[in-house]
Amino acid sequence: MNVGVNTTEPVLSLRGLSHRFVRNDGSEVRALDDVSLDVLPGEFICILGRSGHGKTTLLNAIAGLQPVERGEVHALGRPVRGPGTDRGVIFQRDSVFPWMRVEENVAFGLRVRGLKRRERLGLAREQLARVGLSAVARAWPRELSGGMRARVAIAAVFATDPPILLADEPFGTLDYVTKRQLQAVLRELWHRSGKTVLFVTHDVEEALMLGTRVIVVGNGAIAEDRAVDLPMPRTDDDLASPQGLALRHLLLRHMGLE
């Protein structure tokens, strides 16, 4: 079941994105090579690939954080010229502000939008309850574990209710158990909200566990674009099914592991 997926106009549309980086020694890296992609409302797309193959550049270009040499990104029909509140971002690096209490972090986006303190903290507490952090609403981020800070980041983005969520390996540095727990939290939030999610990962299992569609990026280009027709929410048994295993082998081949 692809929750919330329908076949209306794409919420994200990428056309001919190309970008190069120049290394210190003068050599060039082609981070994006003519990438075109349409993303439909409610899709959970996992962008899979090895390190240094352009996944983060692609996500940053969609977020409006990375200008590209050629190509266009349209979000909700409007051209992307920079970051926007229609696209929430969760970074791989710990981005939760250490100088704000947990609830203030979650309410930050609402504060920027000018919501009154009482209103924004009320909404923040609702989000914290959804990610299981009500008990630490008044704590400082340094008092939390890495997994809890990742939950705070998720709650902060969901508090502003952007239609598109961009996540750049948000669980990449977490231990296996915490990662699985957070995958479940994100899946549940996506299931409830029906948001469109682009989730960058280098973990094949994570991509298969979360995605309704997996896109493999290699050398800056889309090497594979495949729908994941497995039940949702998924279990390890689903991934071990013949269909799941076939997909896994396909993705591993693209990753150069088989």
């Binding site: 977020a63 954080l65 920079g82 970051p83 926007g84 509140t85 696209r87 929430g88 971002v89 970074f91 690096r93 710990d94 981005s95 502000f97 250490p98 100088w99 704000m100 209490r101 930050f108 986006g109 504060r111 920027v112 939008r113 299981g132 952090l133 008990a135 630490v136 704590a139 400082w140 981020p141 340094r142 008092e143 939390l144 574990s145 890495g146 809890m148 902060a156 502003t160």
Partner: protein
């Protein structure tokens, strides 16, 4: 849910560490007083007063110091003169420090502002106080405003440099995250750059405060209607070693007290760190 990331040492251990620090501080002070006493014994009384004589001079002249009246300072004591110095210092530091922090943090992010600010800071920072202070006296006269301006200017220059570096050292991920929530430069300055860079900025502010004491006192010695610097100038003319040392001691005590106050304030503001 367990909070496991930043376990703090137990309260007893923290108190023990604080107690040890106080003990070391007291030992250092005793050693300093002992050396001072030795120097007072070795030198003639007209050049060096003992710690006890100095303390007596301080106590006697704290409210009213009659010998300063002939220098046109009126019926004042060291205490009132110190208050004048402190008031100028606080106003100068507050104005200059605030300006310096805002300009420094903003110029770390606005290239145009930086191109404009850096040469000015470089020029002002390299002009010695010995040169700037007489010029200020010439331009603005013997008035409190002259000293306030001097302290504000040098504080601003120092704080621009400290704040620029503090903002540059802040992890850019925080600012990038803020932009994704729609935060413009104003919101990023207010909610991200300044609070995030604050621990490093406050470290710089302590150094600026220490310098400001020297600046203010020196500016008063050159020419001011009041202030502890004027007392130092008068007592130098009188060859009064005990009075001079009393004034130096009172400035040192006030400088240490303001530093401790600032430190306590930092602890409160940056309790998240």
């Amino acid at each position: 849910m367990r909070r496991d990331a930043a376990a703090r040492p137990p309260l007893a251990s923290r108190w023990q560490r604080r107690g040890n620090a106080i003990l070391v501080g007291v030992a250092g002070l005793l050693l300093f007083l002992f050396a001072w006493q030795l120097a007072a014994r070795a030198l003639p009384a007209s050049r060096m007063a003992s710690p006890l004589t100095t303390a007596r001079d301080l106590a006697v002249n704290f409210v009213v110091a009659p010998r300063l009246r002939v220098f046109g300072l009126g019926r004042v004591g060291y205490g009132e003169l110190l208050l004048y110095t402190l008031r100028n210092l606080v106003v100068g530091l507050a104005v200059g420090g605030t300006l310096g922090i805002v300009i420094g943090v903003a110029s770390a992010r606005l290239r145009l502002l930086r191109v404009l600010v850096d040469p000015i800071v470089l020029v002002l920072g390299t002009v010695p106080v010995l040169v700037a202070a007489p010029l200020f006296l010439l331009w603005f006269g013997v008035a409190p405003f002259t000293q306030v301006l001097l302290v504000a200017l040098y504080s601003a220059v120092m704080m621009v440099l400290f704040s620029e570096r503090a903002a540059e050292n802040l992890d850019p991920t925080y600012e990038r995250w803020a932009t994704t929530f729609g935060a413009g430069l104003g919101a990023r300055l207010r909610f991200v750059l300044i609070p995030g860079a604050l621990p490093e900025i406050l470290g710089g502010l302590r150094i600026t405060l220490a310098s400001a004491w020297g600046l203010e006192t020196f500016a008063e010695i050159l020419g001011a209607p009041s202030g502890i610097g004027q007392a130092i100038k008068a007592l130098t003319n009188l060859n009064n070693a005990a009075g001079l040392l009393a004034c130096v001691a009172i400035v040192a005590i006030a400088a240490i007290a303001t530093d401790m106050l600032l430190l306590a304030l930092f602890g409160r503001i940056t309790r998240w760190a």
